[in-house]
Symmetry: C2
């Protein structure tokens, strides 16, 4: 009898968790496991704002996939998935194709620009290691160029962050630490630097506790961040952005750097492959399978599950992606062992939003935290995701220990 | 009786040498000494190729002027000279003006583009600290951007150096060390990187010993440099350069980075102030004074003196600028003390051209050197210029000691 073949697309939080759990849950004689990823490394998406600001080297936010999978049990293919052929049970890659019996789609999210003109061309997004180091270098070049020009252009020192959600706020926190360093490095008067956060929604960090949000805004403002709340980006241009608040006249903000951190959607492959989705996110069954496609699991940012308590989707977080990876691995093992599948039930231990070095806000096990305590918990969360996938060795290698 | 006022324009090798020697040679009751410089720091022009390549931090190539002058004897004004009013014996600054009895023009050189179209707009020049760090950051951004683009643009990884003279060759040597680091940092295949040196003259390092030149070319080619000798840059464009060799058809070389290191001229203020000059360089008398302007000295890159032995001008080097600064200080002291002036006589101890880490070529005290020995001598030369101006303390602070 032919062994079933399990193909996992993506080595992000969800995909790697699935692979590392599956390699223990099924024997080599029971199934072949194939992991496919664009790069030969995994990166910590939730740390990319640090690499983008330049406060953490990008090599600290990634690690080799080969170091965390059991190469005797999991075959790793470096490749880019292009389309899923559901009927033929195969995945087309840029160079080749792979057949599957069970497929796990864990391809992660993409930036969503909501059709705002010019954003794709003129704004950066904190989406992967390549983008993060480009943002860091771009900002550095602006500061380095400032004094070389006869006519000083202050807009070189203006950074606009689009979005006051999780990523936007965490990136602003890092900029608060990075900008004094850049000013020192390039002999720039810090008062010339502007960091502006533009958010279309009427609030910062929607869904977060209002006391914590107030703390975050106050602390970021103290670091020099200017908030423009209830203000929408209408267009990005080579010179900056056009914003408008309600019915007011549109206004131009000149800025050499615009970072769009306001939207995430699922991977475009989903729609291309004819799988029903909303902005690339598939409303999966409780067992994480795609309705009507019982051999396809979708987890992480490409999946959509409703939190019945508030009747809104769960947010696309690393925490949920990893928990889904665990359930997904169990359910595939159950299919192979002819046992019943279990339903996914998120277990939200807490959420911590960093505000830069030694500062953060968060709710952990139902308790509100700010400042150094919250920052400490953030590092615990960061180290935990390393531990879950790569064990203590990976924590020692890549963990964050600059804890006061 | 009014004390005479000595004004020194520029705190480069020549200006700082003049100031530090004058502060010892004349008493505070004999003269007022004023040093005027654009920045509050001096930079080692001969080290800028390292900061530009990114092999030495730009803070290592500069030091505070206040640390090497005696503030009780020399008044320092941070300002930019705009014009010399010879008849009124005053210097116009961007913000204000300063009168003088004796003037030392030590403003250094500027890049000379010989009217080649587009060079000013699209090429960099290794002319000061600001330019150097911009070049470094620009190159880094190209490497950082490479992997973020759907369609890979190999020209991002192409660096053209215009000129195979001293600066061009030394910069190429540093790139040879820096590029493997950049490739590692940004996951770039080193075979994709191109470094092309374009030189209009039929030879590399004209005036240098042919055996040493051969050594230099072979070693740089081994590091991946491609030489295009006898090839002129016709035009620089946003995409790269247009070159032509003799009567051949012009050819386009696509390159994201073009560094022009082929020409130097004196400061444009010279001509603006109505002082006779050739490309901003004043043919001074043997006592370093301007003909018909007995109270104005011109030293360093703005001066021109003929080497009678070969009937060609002495090259604009740090070595000569510093020696001229010494003679200039002596002659001004002589004028104040009503003593005869002396003629400047260069004492060329040697010339060493770096080829990157632990490699160089040079002639020192008439002896040819290559490799580690030459590289060692280069560091001796570099440390010596620190010692001459700032003494042992400055050598300890900024010197180069990574000598095998």
């Amino acid at each position: 009898m032919r062994k079933p073949k399990i193909v996992i697309l993506g080595a992000g939080y969800g995909g790697l968790m699935t692979a590392t759990r599956l390699q223990k849950a099924v024997g080599t004689n029971e199934a072949d496991i194939v992991l496919i990823n664009k790069n030969d490394y995994h990166y910590e998406t939730t740390w990319l704002h640090e690499a983008s600001a330049g406060t953490l080297h990008h090599d600290r936010v990634r690690y080799d996939i080969s170091g965390v999978i059991d190469r005797n049990k999991v075959e790793f293919i470096q490749g880019t998935a292009v389309e899923i052929k559901k009927e033929e049970k195969k995945v087309l890659l840029e160079n080749g194709e792979v057949e599957y019996d069970y497929l796990v789609v864990a391809l992660g999210g993409e930036s969503e620009t909501f059709g705002i003109k010019g954003l794709k061309e003129y704004a950066f997004s904190i989406v992967n290691v390549n983008a993060a180091r480009q943002i860091r270098e771009h900002i550095e070049l602006q500061f380095a160029t400032y004094h070389t020009e006869e006519e000083k252009k202050d807009e070189r020192l203006t950074i606009v962050v689009g979005g006051a959600g999780f990523t936007g706020i965490e990136f602003l926190g890092e900029l608060g630490n990075r900008i004094p360093e850049l000013c020192h490095e390039y002999d720039i008067d810090i008062h010339k630097v502007k960091v502006i956060c533009v958010e279309a929604a009427p609030m910062v960090l929607p869904g977060f506790d209002p006391d914590l949000v107030e703390y975050a805004v106050a602390h970021l403002e103290k670091k020099g961040v200017e908030f423009r709340i209830g203000t929408a980006i209408k267009e990005a241009t080579p010179e900056g952005i056009i914003v408008a608040k309600g019915e007011e006249e549109p206004e131009e903000i000149k800025a050499a750097t615009v970072v769009w951190a306001a939207g995430i959607r699922g991977n475009a492959i989903i729609e291309k492959s004819g799988i029903e989705a909303m902005r690339g996110r598939v409303k999966v069954n409780l067992d994480l399978r795609v309705p009507e496609h019982e051999n396809i699991f979708v987890i992480g940012d490409c999946s959509l599950m409703i939190n019945e308590e508030i009747n809104r989707p769960y947010p696309p977080t690393a925490q949920i992606a990893m928990q889904q990876g665990e359930t997904c691995a169990k359910n595939i093992a159950a299919l192979i062992h002819n046992k019943p599948l279990e339903n996914f039930k998120p277990d939200i231990k807490g959420t911590v939003c960093s505000l830069g070095e030694n500062d953060a806000i968060g709710v952990v096990f139902g308790k509100k935290l700010v400042g150094k305590k919250a920052s400490f918990m953030k590092k615990v969360v960061d180290n935990r995701s390393l531990y879950m996938i790569g064990g203590a060795g990976l924590v020692l290698k890549k963990g964050k220990f600059n804890v006061l």
